[in-house]
Subunit: 373 residues, 2 copies
C-alpha cells in the first residue's frame, strides 16, 4: 500500500481524456494597482577582448547586447566595442573597475594571475568535459565561486559564452613522443603552457596576429589558438601541416560579462534580470554556434590538406601526470584553489563513472557508424 501511495504521488498521469476545468481564464483586463516600474533610457558601452573578425566570440557580446535591447524595446541599449577601441583586450577588468566603461566581455582566464582558482572555474586541463563542466558550473557551485571572486575585485560577473573544447594546436613536424617536445618552440599561454614547459617545450605567449608570421619565419615550431573556425581565420592551416587533437589543455573556456558595481546598482531590477538572461542566452548559443562552425571549418581544412593527428598515449599520460602535480602546487599556494578544487573533484567523481558511460558509449557508437557510411 505504501508503495502504491508513493507511486500515485509520482504518477505521470497519461490518461488520454482531454480535461477542461470549469475555470476559464480569458485574460480579462485587470486593474492596475501598482505603479508601473521605472523604465529609464540607459545607454552603456561594452568593451570586449575580441576583434570583430572573430565573429562567434565577438558575437557572444553582440547576442547579449541585442537581446537586452529587444527585451526592453530599446530603452536599455549596450554597444559592444571590439578589442582596443576603448580598452586593450587583457585590461577589460581594470576598465570596468575604473568605470571607463559600464561593462565588458572577456575571458575568465585573463584574470588567472589574480587568482589561479579562475583557471579551474573556466575549465582545467584534463578536467571535466563541457557538459560535465556546465553541470558543475551551474549546479555544483562554480558560478557562485566565480561571482564571489569577482565581487572581491569590485565588479559583478555573469557567464556569457564558452568556446567549448579547444583543439590541440598546429605543428610544423610530427610529434610522436615526449622526446619530440624537448626544445620545441610553441606559442601557448596559461596552464597548458605551464604543463608543456615541464615536458621540455620552450613556451612563448604571442598575440593572435603574430602567430602566423612567427610560424612562417621559423621563430616558433608550433602554436595553439582556439579551434578550427577561429584558427582558419588566422590562416594557421596554410602555414602548419599537422593539426593535433584532443585539446587537452582547455576542455571549456568560460567567457564572462563584467559590470561596474555602481552602474549595476543603478539599474532597475527588471533591467538587471534581463541582462542576466541575455548573458545566459549568449553563453548557451555560443557553445552551439562553435559546435556547428568548428565541424564545417575542420572539414574544409582536411579537404585542403591539413593532416589531423591524435596525440600519442605517452604524451597524454605524461601531460596528465604533470597537470595533477601542478594542481597540487596551486592547492598548496591558494586557499581558494584548494577549497574549490576539492569540491570540484567530488562533483567530478559523482558524474564521471556512471552517467558518462551512457553518453560516451552512445557517442562512440554513432561516430563509428557515421564514418562507415
Amino acid at each position: 500500500m505504501k508503495r502504491r501511495n508513493l507511486l500515485s504521488k509520482i504518477a505521470l498521469g497519461t490518461a488520454s481524456t482531454y480535461t477542461i476545468t470549469a475555470c476559464q481564464s480569458p485574460n480579462p483586463p485587470e486593474p492596475n494597482p501598482e505603479p508601473t516600474p521605472s523604465q529609464p533610457l540607459i545607454r552603456w558601452r561594452m568593451a570586449t577582448s575580441w576583434p570583430k573578425s572573430l565573429d562567434i566570440i565577438f558575437g557572444a557580446a553582440e547576442i547579449l547586447c541585442r537581446r537586452v535591447e529587444q527585451m526592453t524595446e530599446g530603452r536599455f541599449t549596450i554597444t559592444p566595442y571590439p578589442a582596443n577601441e576603448i580598452i586593450s583586450p587583457l585590461q577589460i577588468l581594470d576598465g570596468v573597475i575604473a568605470g571607463t566603461v559600464e561593462c565588458g566581455h572577456t575571458n575568465l582566464l585573463f584574470s588567472f594571475d589574480r587568482n589561479p582558482a579562475l583557471g579551474l572555474i573556466s575549465g582545467l586541463p584534463f578536467g571535466m568535459n563541457l557538459p560535465q563542466h556546465n553541470a558543475w558550473f551551474f549546479h555544483g557551485g562554480g558560478l557562485e565561486a566565480m561571482q564571489k571572486i569577482y565581487q572581491g575585485f569590485g565588479v559583478n560577473t555573469f557567464p556569457a559564452g564558452n568556446t567549448g573544447l579547444q583543439m590541440g594546436g598546429w605543428f610544423n613536424r610530427k610529434i610522436n613522443s615526449v622526446d619530440d617536445l624537448k626544445g620545441l618552440k610553441m606559442r601557448i599561454p596559461g596552464l597548458g603552457g605551464k604543463i608543456l614547459e615541464r615536458l621540455g617545450c620552450e613556451v612563448q605567449v604571442l598575440p593572435g596576429d603574430e602567430i602566423f608570421p612567427a610560424l612562417e619565419q621559423g621563430k616558433i615550431d608550433a602554436a595553439e589558438w582556439i579551434g578550427p573556425y577561429d584558427d582558419e581565420k588566422l590562416g594557421l592551416n596554410r602555414i602548419a601541416p599537422y593539426y593535433y587533437y584532443p585539446g587537452w589543455w582547455e576542455p571549456s573556456s568560460v567567457l564572462i560579462a563584467l559590470v561596474n558595481r555602481s552602474q549595476w546598482d543603478r539599474l532597475p531590477k527588471s533591467y538587471q534580470e534581463i541582462f542576466r538572461s541575455a548573458a545566459l542566452e549568449a553563453y548557451f548559443l555560443t557553445i552551439s554556434r562553435y559546435d556547428a562552425a568548428n565541424g564545417e571549418a575542420l572539414e574544409r581544412m582536411i579537404l585542403s590538406g591539413t593532416e589531423l593527428l591524435p596525440y600519442s598515449q605517452e604524451i597524454l599520460e605524461d601531460a596528465y601526470s604533470v597537470a595533477l602535480e601542478l594542481y597540487q602546487k596551486y592547492a598548496s599556494d591558494s586557499e581558494d584553489f584548494a577549497r574549490i578544487y576539492q569540491q570540484w573533484k567530488q562533483f567530478q567523481s559523482s558524474i564521471v563513472n556512471g552517467y558518462t558511460t551512457n553518453q560516451l558509449t552512445y557517442s562512440n557508437f554513432i561516430s563509428e557508424r557515421e564514418k562507415i557510411n
Copy 2:
C-alpha cells in the same frame, strides 16, 4: 603584404598597455523622447505534461515562469500547473489551441502522430548526440522547421528544456543477443518502440505510474522511462536488476513551451522577447540539471545493487539497421520528414567526422583516467 593586411584585420591585439579613450561615458541622465512602453499586468496559466514530483522536468516550466516574472518585476506572471490539474498530459497542444490555457509546457514527441518530422526534430534514435543536435537545432534549421510545423497547428512554440540522452531501460533478465529480445514484453513508446517491435519485442505503452506494478506483477519484462534521476523516482531500480546503456532511442528530447497565437499577439513586444529568453534559459539549465542529477542518481543505484550493462554490439547494430529502414519509410510517407531529414543528414556529416573526434577522444581519455583513480 596581402597576408599581413589580412592578419592585421584579425589581430586579437593583446598589447598590454591599458588604454583609456578620452571619451568618458558617465551615464548622464538622458532626455526621454519616446513614450514609455506599455507594461500591462498579465496573468497566464501554463498547463504542463509533468507531475510536480518529476522536479527537473516540471522545473523547466518553473524556471520559465519565474524568469518571466523577475524580468517584468511581476507585471507578467505565469503559473505552471502539473499534469491533469487543468489538462491531461498528452493534450497540452489541444488545450493551447482551444485557448483553455494561454500556454503549455510539453514534449515535442507528444505531437509525433500529427507529423513524424517532430520525432526527427526532437532527436532521432541513433541520431546526433546532444551537443551536435543543439548545433543543428539552433544553427542548422531545426528550430525554424519546428516553429513552422506548429504554426500550421495555430500555435507559437519555443524550445524550453531537453532531457538529454536517456537510458537504455530496465530488464528483469540479461539481454545478450537479438534472440533474447524475441517475445520480450517491454514498455517503450515512440520510435524506439517501433524499432524494438521489428526486432521481435512485444511493445506496450503504459503511463509512468503503471510501470512499477506491471514489472512487479510480471505483466512486462522490461521498461524504459527517462534517465537515472527520474527512473529512481518511479522506483524502477527496486524492481528490475539490470539497467542497460546507451539509451540509443532518445539522444535528445526537446521540451517546448506552446503559446496560443491570439494571446501571444496581445503581448507587448518586450514581454514576447522576455518569454523567449526565459524559455531558452529553461532549455539550457534543464540539460545541465539532468547532467548533474543523473550522475548522482546512477551512483546511488549502483551502490544499492543495480547492475549497469551495455547493449551488445549485435543488438546495437541490428537496431541501427532497422532504424535506418524506418527513416526511409517515413521519408517516403512524409514530405516534411523527407526534406528535413535530408538537411539534417547533411549537417550531421559535416560535423561528425572531424570535430567530434576531438571531443570524443578527450572525453574517452578523461573517463578512463577517472576510473583508474
